[in-house]
Amino acid sequence: MRSTLLFIASVLGVVLITAALQQKSAQARVADPNMGRVFSIPGDQVGRPGVNVVFISDDQKDKFNTTMPSAMKAAYHAMIRTKLLALNPNYTKNFLGLDAETFSGVLATDVLTVSLKGATSYYDGTNVLTGRKLNDDVIDFSLKLIFGGTDGKSNPGLSSDNVNKNDKDFSNLFPYEAAPW
């Protein structure tokens, strides 16, 4: 009788320990909740600030968002060149030395160029299109390129909106952006 009880107890013990171990390893192998999810409905797409809004005609704005960047130049270079010259019919070259054909060609592939080896800034007086920092004045840079002429000093009334900083200070510590209002 005793040996039977002992036997049953040890079997029970083994069963319980195995169940516990299986549960523990199952917990360690919890699947990622998004595993296998497919996202196929296109939404929005952005590289540089303001390109779609300013340079792409209304009837093309949604299509621009679903055009892969590698296909954008062929599809939109001419449209952007036309818009640039409509904005500034006196445009020859901007202060970076780009004529209308070249400038619109740069804008047409809507990607942000980012340096991995040096300073990153949209424009800081020295670095040009090597990234985009929170405090970069992308508006003034863009307006100056469109309206500022060859030395950046033409059309001063249209080349800066005279808003040079954000409503709150940024931080040099993660997550860098300011707390919400």
Binding site: G43, N65, N88, T109, L116, N162, P180
Partner: protein
Amino acid sequence: MKRKILIGVCGVLLSGVIGALWASDHGDTPAVTGKSTDIADLYAFESPANANNMVFISNVQGPLSPAASAGAAFDPKTLIEFNLDNTGDNIEDLVIQCVPHGNKMYVYGPLKPHQPGLTSTIQNDASVVTEITRYGSKPLVGKSRSGITAFAGPRDDPFFFDVGQYIKIIKGEAKEFSATGADGLAGTNVLSVVVEVPKAMLGSADKINVWLETKQSK
């Protein structure tokens, strides 16, 4: 010369932008305006805290008033995806994918996408998971052992622009910007995902091309 330019500006922009709050990519396209997929801004910069790291920021659903911010939420059906090309052909070689689930943001990558283009599939475990920070709370941050840091939640909208004067110019009510501009985004917020990654994870090129996409699941 100014008059010619003004007419050019009006003619080109009037039809598209009247009444629309233009700030970076805010309110750009009929299909996404006001939706959870609406991108406000993309930022990419070397971390000021660590020059070995790159910071990627995706701001969506802006501009949000403070009242709207309390109830704003990431959409569980919307993927926020940073696309990175490190070979110079404008095709993504790496993606960083951000998908909310419950009260957490799951960040995948940097990883080679299943296939480049319009459809994205999650095929890996998350690199880092962070609690989504609630409006009014101190930022919660997730960190991986591999050195990736992530934040998700409401932030002050970092964009600044005298959008009000811009609209007056294109409507012909003003000829130029004011001598002292007013930031039309002042006092507004966005929903933000901030991901900081070691540059070593981005390949060995001197530079990368970056763009941001939002996509939805069915």
